[in-house]
């Protein structure tokens, strides 16, 4: 794992491990401001005021500034997935069960979370550049590290990165652009999708290919 990925994993999950952490308060404040005013009109000053911290603290928490605010909020949602669903992910008994929990949770956040939904609906043009082309590499690195402890229970070490890479791409794609044929709120439909298409795709191929 690169140092950057390690730092980002920490940044994305700290806020959710500790409810009193300043990161958590700042992300909650950012979410409140975005819900109230929209992403475009939200400033780091607004967020600092909402969280009751100094401006400098807000700038430290969002080092990319306003341009990277939506990315930070969405990335924290990825962190939230792995903390909120930690118990379900950690106790999944099969690779299929694990992927059902993870994919359902991730798509539920992208489809149902009010702030994420509003950002994707109104400000996708501000967000997409951070999840495409060379920028997506960073997200894939971090997604890999977040998935590693869970996928590692079912896959050999060297199969974790390819698996996490494909899963993150599928989830992002379906989150940004839902598929008409997949009702992500129907558990039976998600399980069929996971068992038919995802489980075989993430398993390491039988040699030799």
């Amino acid at each position: 794992m690169t140092g950057t990925a390690a730092a980002l994993v920490d940044e994305w999950t700290t806020g959710y491990r500790d409810a009193d952490a300043p990161e958590r308060r700042l992300v909650e404040a950012a979410r409140a401001c975005i819900a109230r005013w929209g992403l475009r009109k939200t400033t780091l000053e607004d967020i600092a005021r909402e969280a009751g911290v100094a401006r400098a603290t807000a700038y430290r928490a969002f080092p990319g500034g306003k341009d990277r605010l939506a990315e930070a909020v969405l990335c924290h949602e990825a962190g939230r997935l792995f903390t909120d669903y930690d118990a379900a992910l950690s106790t999944a008994g099969t690779l299929e069960d694990l992927l059902v929990v993870g994919v359902t949770g991730a798509l539920a956040i992208m489809a149902d979370d009010e702030v994420v939904r509003s950002v994707l609906a109104h400000d996708a043009d501000l967000v997409l550049p951070h999840f495409a082309f060379h920028h997506l590499d960073r997200f894939l690195d971090v997604a890999t590290e977040l998935c590693r402890p869970h996928l590692g229970r079912f896959l050999p070490d060297d199969a974790v990165r390819p698996a996490a890479d494909l899963l993150a791409r599928v989830v992002l794609s379906l989150g940004f652009r839902p598929a008409a044929w997949l009702d992500t709120r129907d558990p039976a439909a998600v399980r069929r999708f996971v068992s038919t298409y995802l489980v075989p795709a993430v398993r390491p191929p039988k040699e030799p290919i």
Binding site: F133, H134, L136, L140, R177, T196, I209
Partner: protein, 179 residues
Amino acid sequence: MARDGIGRVTVEGVAREAGVARATVYRVFPGGRHEMVAATVSWAVGEFFAGLALEIGPVDDAATLLERGLVAGRRRLAEHEVLQHALQVEADEVVPQLASVMPAVLAFLRRDLARRLETERLRPGVDPEEAADVLSRLALSLIGTRGAWDLDDPAEVRRLVRGHLLAGVLADPEGAPTV
């Protein structure tokens, strides 16, 4: 746009380059600069995929199509001057434009793949339309971002396509015709 970057493109500059009056540019692009940039990005994307299809050539099966498409797509993107410059320097302006053209590209690729899959032996429970949708999304994502894969290595591309992407789709991905 390739020379100066999209951010510096103006209606005046384009009129001068083309040797026409500003009014002519506005007749072609009534929306002005924004429409001009959008049209150019769409045109570049269309040209990119048309060239890619030509390079892939006539292919009957999904595995070969994906293998050739990923290798050639990745290489053509790396060599594409206008798109590379735009993606490195002006992602904020270009990516949303690309995102608005992508549904059309995705739909085209999906139809093409579904047509091929309908003639191939699929695993039980696989629907060619669904499989084509998942494969198209992944293929476009992989051309845009390398992530965990080295698409310059033919053996790795083969493992990616036959061992992962098509593992849940084809009854016998290893037995599919080889490039």
